[in-house]
């Protein structure tokens, strides 16, 4: 099993790059949702960090982490797709890397859509 490009780790295969975006977003979504549910019902809903609800801060922190990961995988997939020059009849791997880059970029946007409102909204 080869990595995406010769200078990338071996574990960065097309499987990883195609699925990274959707899976990271899905895990992120469940974590922030469960955190908010637990935070607003049981786990110290009134607690604040630096004058801000800890749920909002944790959500924003997780959003930053998820976005960083998504940006990394998107860029890696994009670079791998670009390393194949034949855009007319791309190789199988180039197509799948391009798919991975598309998905990574989309779920980066989706993560921002989900997470950024925590900066301005009332939490609980």
């Amino acid at each position: 099993m080869k990595g995406a490009t010769t200078d990338q780790p071996r574990w960065l295969t097309w499987h990883v790059l195609v699925l990274a975006g959707p899976v990271i977003w899905y895990l992120y979504f469940w974590v922030v949702y469960l955190l908010a549910e637990a935070g607003c019902s049981r786990a110290f809903p009134e607690t604040q960090w630096f004058g801000v609800s800890w749920v909002a801060l944790a959500t924003l922190l997780l959003t930053v982490i998820a976005c960083s990961l998504l940006a990394y995988f998107t860029f890696t997939a994009y670079s791998a797709a670009r390393s194949n020059p034949d855009l007319i009849e791309p190789t199988r791997e180039a197509s799948l890397y391009a798919l991975g880059a598309l998905l990574g970029a989309f779920f980066l946007v989706a993560t921002l859509f989900v997470g950024v409102p925590a900066a301005v909204l009332d939490v609980c």
Binding site: W14, F29, F106, V109, V114, L121, C124
Partner: protein
């Protein structure tokens, strides 16, 4: 990317073995033969026709009566009770018994032709899927015979669907009948996933795979992830209704919102489960009728995958009015709005292809353009209701009814018609009348807009949905009357379609193999196709093989020789080719199951369990379970291989590809993997219920219930660990050809696992609190017994392995079932450790 239109299409070769292969792959004649039938074309057609039959029963009659009732204010054509039953039936039938089975029928019917393979990977599973769907639908409809028609809406919200407000059997019919059908939907999804990933023609890489297959691949995974939580939710509801548990009883620590979460985790993806196959059909029709390769192929694939994942993060937008915290509301609103991006990407890709192409205005293209117009409107109103403030106003109003019908009729119904007009010539050998088809389209298009557009306005004026009548003077009269007229126009449109079907069937005007000059593989085969679809499997080197390839059998030297050889050998058993997931390189030749009565018997056992619960005959449920076990054993009974291991080896040596007459290794592994996934999702759904109830209760366990001692479970866990070790050891031994070692290992596994289950089961029976005491007790017992059932399934499989080992069925080359059961053991042990860890450790931690 260039325009395409080639006069000399590549044709399929017809080797002299064609008649032999056709006979080999045919289902047996007569009534018994029909009951044993497993061929994909039989199963696919049955699913489509049965879905259409349920549509006529539940979709059309109900809606006509409802619209007649609402045509004028203060109408008393039907009673409030009958109206409740009508809208419940209309929604339930459409969502569970019509759209999904019709699309799964499309997939099972078409995928082997499109992918260049002879059959689906598990033909018997396909037959089982059909029979469970049919029996589930009939069980659901049989409620009418007992005057116990479900009336709590297609969502069956608790507490309305609980015993207090629905004491008769109506909701039980809803839960149990549709539950059986859901099992069928999951079985068909497993078939579809594996056929798309492992059964493609050599050379059909993922990048070259038709968008139809991509759409169904994503859809099938979604079915697995969405229907399983619903099955678990339905089980919990039935446990509350039939066994006195407290999952949804707020007074005893339960939560009515738990049902809504479990239902909508299924319910919202369900919309996309219905929409994505439609996009697959549209993506096949547009290139053909525009004579233009699809613009943005990869973008459309990405959109499908994105929609598939994102749809599982939208469910609570159906629950904005239940009092979610603002931040949770914003999560779901954000996710609901952002799904417009991939949907929009698809729309623009289709429009770009239409823009760049040269249209032929056949009926399929008309329905496609109609789809685009209606779906865009339905999609935009969908983004509107994704906004929390707007949804708080529009929720449960006719605005939402208008939105969902534009999405479902425009976004799903129209592509379905496009698909029927497009592929019917291939499947029957004759085409539908194009003039009548155009009448069909225009009448339907006008009818849909007349019926549903006014609902936007009347909804914004405040008319709530699910009301059986309304008073005069609110300004709703005219809009409702127009909607009723629209429904009759729709009925006329469907009538034209039925007439077209009947006339075309009578006339049987023959068509060419590729009447549309279409680019994908299925159009290279005869119309109607042979039973085995492909005598010589094709080799694919393009996304549009019939436009780009000079012939269908050119590839690498090895691939050419292999496909040629498969046209000549074997002629005594049903051989198919499995290929690698990404590159579609040949991996193995294996035997698929032939006609069998066991799928029907197993489906009968499944429906017996559900029907017995309906009648509260618990012994009947045990009998059903016994029938399932017997059915599964009969289904998988290893019959004597039609060739020797030496013959296998001879072909292997010649073509350097494994031959597995005893069943595929890779495909079976995928099958077991998906079964494990199903178990895992079910397990996660119960865990979700556990933690949701935990958050809803201030004390866990509640006052008066002690956290039970873990000692018995610890000793049982040790025994389960020994079982897992024993089985692994046995598997290693048979891989080295040591049958005695396999027997020793699996024997140890069997005894240890039995000991573990007996200890844990006794412990649960002796617990001081019951499942009826509190929601804690309900979820504790349910999760615990779920784990024991999974482990018991592993024990039954192990017992069969032991039996077949004693009979000498396994060898170094032929031991696929042993590997698969080992795989299942891994899942069972993970479920055991996590499940009991949650039950016994989390109360101390939280």
């Amino acid at each position: 990317m260039s325009d395409v239109s080639r006069p000399n299409l590549p044709r399929v070769r017809t080797p002299p073995t064609d008649p032999v292969l056709d006979e080999l792959w045919s289902d047996p004649p007569g009534l018994l033969g029909k009951l044993k039938a497993v061929q994909n074309d039989a199963i696919g057609k049955r699913l489509i026709l049965t879905g259409f039959f349920f549509l006529l029963l539940g979709g059309s009659v109900d809606s006509v009566v409802m619209r007649l009732q609402l045509a004028v204010p203060n109408n008393d054509l039907v009673s409030p009770q009958l109206y409740n039953e009508l809208f419940t039936n209309h929604g339930s039938v459409t969502m569970f018994l019509v759209i999904l089975p019709i699309f799964e029928g499309f997939a099972i019917l078409l995928l082997p032709l499109l992918l260049g393979t002879r059959e689906m990977p598990f033909p018997r599973l396909g037959a089982f899927a059909y029979f469970t769907f049919l029996m589930g639908g009939l069980l659901y409809y049989s409620a009418t015979l007992f005057s116990a028609v479900p009336d709590a809406g297609w969502f069956a919200y608790t507490p309305l669907s609980g015993l207090e407000f629905s004491p008769d059997l109506a909701i039980d019919f809803w839960v149990l009948g549709l539950g059986v059908a859901e099992v069928g939907a999951i079985a068909a999804a497993v078939e579809i996933i594996i056929s798309v990933l492992k059964m493609r023609a050599p050379g059909m890489t993922l990048s070259r795979m038709p968008l139809f297959a991509w759409a169904f691949l994503v859809t099938a995974f979604m079915i697995l992830f969405a229907f399983t939580p619903l099955i678990i939710g339905s089980m919990l509801l039935e446990l509350d209704r039939g066994f006195g548990t407290q999952f949804f009883n707020v007074d005893a620590g339960g939560s009515s919102l738990l049902w809504q979460h479990l239902f909508w985790i299924f319910g919202h993806p369900e919309v996309y489960i219905q929409f994505l196959p439609a996009t697959g059909i549209i993506s096949m029709v547009i290139p053909t009728f525009m004579r233009k390769k699809m613009v943005g192929h990869t973008w459309i694939v990405g959109s499908m995958v994105a929609i598939g994942f994102l749809s599982f993060g939208l469910w609570a937008h159906h629950m904005f009015t239940v009092g979610l915290s603002p931040i949770v509301g914003s999560f779901f609103a954000g996710a609901s709005m952002v799904i417009a991006i991939p949907a929009g990407v698809q729309i623009f890709a289709w429009l770009a292809t239409i823009w760049a192409g040269r249209p032929r205005w056949g009926t399929p293209l008309l329905f496609t353009v109609g789809f685009l117009a209606l779906f865009v409107l339905g999609g935009i109103t969908g983004v509107m209701v994704a906004s929390v403030p707007f949804d708080l106003q529009a929720h449960d109003s006719y605005f939402v009814v208008a939105h969902l019908h534009y999405v479902l009729i425009g976004g799903v119904g129209f592509p379905m018609f496009a698909g029927v007009y497009y592929w019917l010539p291939k499947m029957t050998g004759y085409s539908l009348d194009d003039r009548l088809g155009k009448w069909n389209f225009w009448i339907l298009f006008i009818g849909v807009n007349v019926a549903f557009f006014p609902m936007h306005i009347v909804g914004l004026m405040g008319m709530p949905r699910r009301v059986y009548t309304y008073p005069e003077g609110l300004g709703w009269e005219t809009y409702n009357l127009i909607s009723t007229v629209g429904v009759f126009i729709i009925v006329a449109g469907i009538g034209v379609f039925v007439v077209n079907l009947i006339l075309s069937h009578r006339r049987k005007v023959p068509v060419a193999n590729n009447p549309w000059d279409a680019p994908t593989l299925e159009w290279a085969t005869p119309s109607p196709p042979l039973q085995h679809a492909w005598s010589i499997p094709p080799i694919v080197t393009s996304r549009y093989p019939l436009w780009d390839q000079d012939d269908l059998y050119s590839g690498s030297e090895g691939d050419e020789a292999l496909v040629e050889a498969l046209g000549q050998w074997p002629l005594r058993w049903r051989a198919v080719l499995a290929t690698s997931t990404a590159d579609a390189e040949p991996e193995e030749v294996f035997r698929v199951g032939g006609p069998s009565i066991w799928p029907l018997i197993t489906a009968f056992g499944t429906v017996t369990i559900f029907a017995a619960e309906l009648l509260k005959l618990r012994l009947g449920a045990l009998a059903g379970m016994a029938v399932i076990v017997i059915g599964a054993i009969g289904w998988n009974w290893p019959d004597s291989p039609p060739i020797t291991e030496e013959e296998e080896l001879e072909f292997e040596m010649a073509h350097k590809i494994p031959v597995r007459v005893g069943g595929s290794l890779t495909v079976a592994r995928w099958g077991m993997g998906l079964m494990n996934l199903f178990v895992g999702i079910a397990f996660m759904s119960i865990l979700l219920a556990y933690f949701y109830l935990r958050l809803d209760n201030p004390a866990w366990p509640p006052p008066g219930i002690e956290n039970p001692s873990p000692l018995a479970i610890i000793s049982a866990t040790a025994l389960i660990g020994v079982a897992g070790w024993g089985f692994r050891r046995g598997l290693r031994r048979i891989r080295e050809g040591d049958g005695d070692g396999l027997l020793r290992g699996t024997g140890v596994a069997l005894l240890a696992a039995l000991g573990g289950v007996v200890i844990a089961g006794s412990h649960f029976i002796g617990l001081e609190f019951s499942s009826q005491d509190h929601a804690y007790g309900s979820v504790f017992h349910t999760l615990g017994w779920f784990i024991l059932v999974v482990t018991t399934a592993a024990i039954v499989m192990t017992a069969l392995i032991v039996y077949w080992t004693v009979r000498g069925e396994y060898s170094e080359r032929r031991h696929v079932p042993v590997s698969n059961v080992g795989f299942f053991w891994t899942t069972a042990i993970i479920v055991w450790v996590i499940g009991f860890g949650v039950l016994y450790l989390t109360p101390a931690l939280t």
